[in-house]
């Protein structure tokens, strides 16, 4: 039976993603470690500060795992939330698990503690990349209701691989921010189809930003994460030079494109294919057939 990743809470997603009964939380809510800065502003706090972190197994292999709760202040990163992620990455550098899984659901830096949040994002990126250079594997999963934006979008693209659902959204600035600054002609944030074409999982998969596109089903995310435990990982001069060539080529070919379907057609998606309406399975099969995306 399908269980929606989009609709589930961060805790339910995490518990159903890893092997049943294997999760052991670090600083659980009972420890009541919440944000002192939200309390100072008389704002509601969460006893896990919107981030659940711990150890588990995935398909029998040891992993460390974190999940952001998009329903708490948009999953935004503050001091405690960010420090939990830094601590988890440091723990991984000592324990050497098979992978670190991060279930992203966050709009970026938490404005109520903006300086702490911004610095934390940079600390997470530094720790994560240093760990990758030591051979640790990071898998990001994006399919929550809050999407993955701002500093969190940067952290996600520092991972070895991303699994996204069609409902998942990944970008730097949210459409609302762009609309506020440059007007509705630049980006109509209420045009859901446009927002989906620019930031959604299918577009990110066709571009090569997401390594796997799955249905909105926690079981499908789990299966994709298990497959990625054996995929190539690591960060080296060779790997960044390859990425540089790909990104330069993308900019050269598509730098003047205005909307996603132009890019899809240039990549080889036939004009007759209705990308928006396809199931995840049919879409991935089409992408493999037409543009040679890996399974």
């Amino acid at each position: 039976m399908r269980r929606s990743f989009f609709e589930a809470s961060a805790r339910d997603r995490l518990l159903e993603l890893v092997d049943a009964g294997s999760f052991r939380e670090l600083i659980p809510p009972e420890a009541r470690v919440s944000s002192p800065h939200l309390a100072m502003l008389d704002q509601p706090v969460a006893f896990d500060d919107g981030l659940i972190a711990g150890a588990a197994t995935l398909d029998g292999q040891p992993v460390l795992v974190a999940a952001q709760e998009g329903a708490f202040l948009g999953g935004a990163i503050g001091e405690v939330h960010g420090a939990k992620l830094v601590g988890l990455i440091e723990r991984a550098r000592a324990e050497r698990p098979a992978a670190v899984l991060i279930l992203f659901d966050s709009g970026g830096v938490r404005l109520h503690e903006a300086n702490a949040g911004l610095i934390a994002v940079s600390e997470i990126i530094r720790a994560l990349l240093a760990a990758r250079a030591e051979g640790l594997r990071f898998i990001g999963l994006i399919g929550g209701s809050g999407g993955c934006f701002g500093g969190t979008g940067l952290i996600a693209r520092c991972c070895d691989a991303l699994v996204m659902s069609e409902e998942g959204r990944l970008a730097m600035s949210g459409p609302e921010v762009i609309e506020t600054v440059h007007g509705v002609e630049e980006f109509d944030s209420r045009d859901r189809a446009l927002v989906w074409r620019v930031t959604g999982g299918k577009h990110r998969y066709l571009l090569g930003e997401a390594g796997a596109l799955v249905a909105d089903d926690i079981g499908a995310f789990r299966a994709a994460a298990i497959r990625l435990l054996d995929a190539p990982a690591g960060l080296s001069l060779d790997s960044v030079e390859r990425e540089h060539a790909l990104l330069a080529e993308r900019w050269r070919r598509f730098g003047s494109c205005d909307d996603a379907p132009e890019i899809w057609r240039a990549l080889g998606v036939p004009p007759g294919e209705d990308v928006a309406m396809m199931s995840a399975e049919d879409f991935v099969a089409m992408a493999q057939r037409c543009i040679g995306r890996p399974a």
């Binding site: 502003l41 601590g87 610095i119 934390a120 990349l129 240093a130 600035s173 440059h182 960044v240």
Partner: protein, 241 residues
């Protein structure tokens, strides 16, 4: 400070520009006995996919052609470019790529220093200056996520309340002094810039590689009383159970 004034102040003997455009520059400069690669943004540059890619190329060129040469980021950016086109191409991927290039340079022995001389806002700063081994700012520079009136609008907390709290708390309001107290900046420079830059480079060059690569900002934030929780939380998650 504007770019020309900053360059004259930082490099009184001059520098060798390789690229000098209104909002972007690259080149090399001598700092004491050391030659450094300079990569900079100017005029509150917007960092789009193309600019992130150029900075990444500049870092990779340095790694390939001048192994071990220190890299100095000189920062003046109003943040990421807010355009649909950049998002369509995956701006966050371009910026993350730049961060990876800096990490590769660090791992191969390049000392990385950054100095904010204009303004540094969120996304434009995260994958350049904030990736340095040691981050500095000039006294009249500005580092921020958002100004207080905009923050008040979005969080629905009255501006007067935020302004009053900002007198004591460094955690949400703009300013280089706050970023120093939070542990992010090693120092804020108000005079004698050439000497301070030379000392910063010499100190890093004298530090062993493993120690230089360790991010010590959480410890610094705790020691300065600006960020007490992070150190405690990192330690518990790292070593509990």
């Amino acid at each position: 400070m504007r770019r020309d004034e900053m360059l004259n102040a930082l490099f009184p003997a001059g520098w060798e520009p390789a690229v000098l455009e209104p909002d972007y520059f690259e080149g090399r400069a001598s700092v004491g006995a050391t030659t450094v690669t300079v990569i900079g943004t100017a005029e509150h540059a917007e960092v789009g996919a193309d600019l992130a890619l150029r900075m990444a190329a500049a870092v990779l060129d340095t790694v390939r052609e001048r192994p071990g040469e220190p890299i100095l980021f000189l920062v003046d950016t109003k943040g990421q470019r807010l355009r649909r086109r950049d998002e369509l191409l995956g701006l966050n991927g371009y910026m993350a790529h730049l961060a990876k290039c800096v990490e590769i340079a660090r791992g191969r022995g390049h000392v990385i220093v950054s100095v904010v001389y204009g303004e540094a806002v969120s996304g434009g700063y995260l994958t350049t200056g904030m990736m340095a081994d040691a981050c500095y700012a000039l006294g009249d520079a500005e580092i921020k996520v958002m100004n207080l009136p905009a923050m008040a609008r979005i969080t629905k907390i009255p501006l007067e309340r935020l302004e009053a709290l900002a007198q004591h708390s460094p955690v949400f309001s703009p300013g280089v002094a706050n970023y120093h107290r939070m542990g992010h900046l090693r120092e804020v420079w108000t005079d004698d810039y050439p000497r301070r830059l030379a000392e910063a480079l010499a100190e890093l060059a004298a530090t062993d590689a493993a120690s230089r690569r360790r991010d010590r900002r959480i410890e610094a934030g705790a020691a300065r009383g600006g960020r007490a929780m992070a150190a405690v939380v990192v330690e518990r998650v790292r070593s509990d159970g």
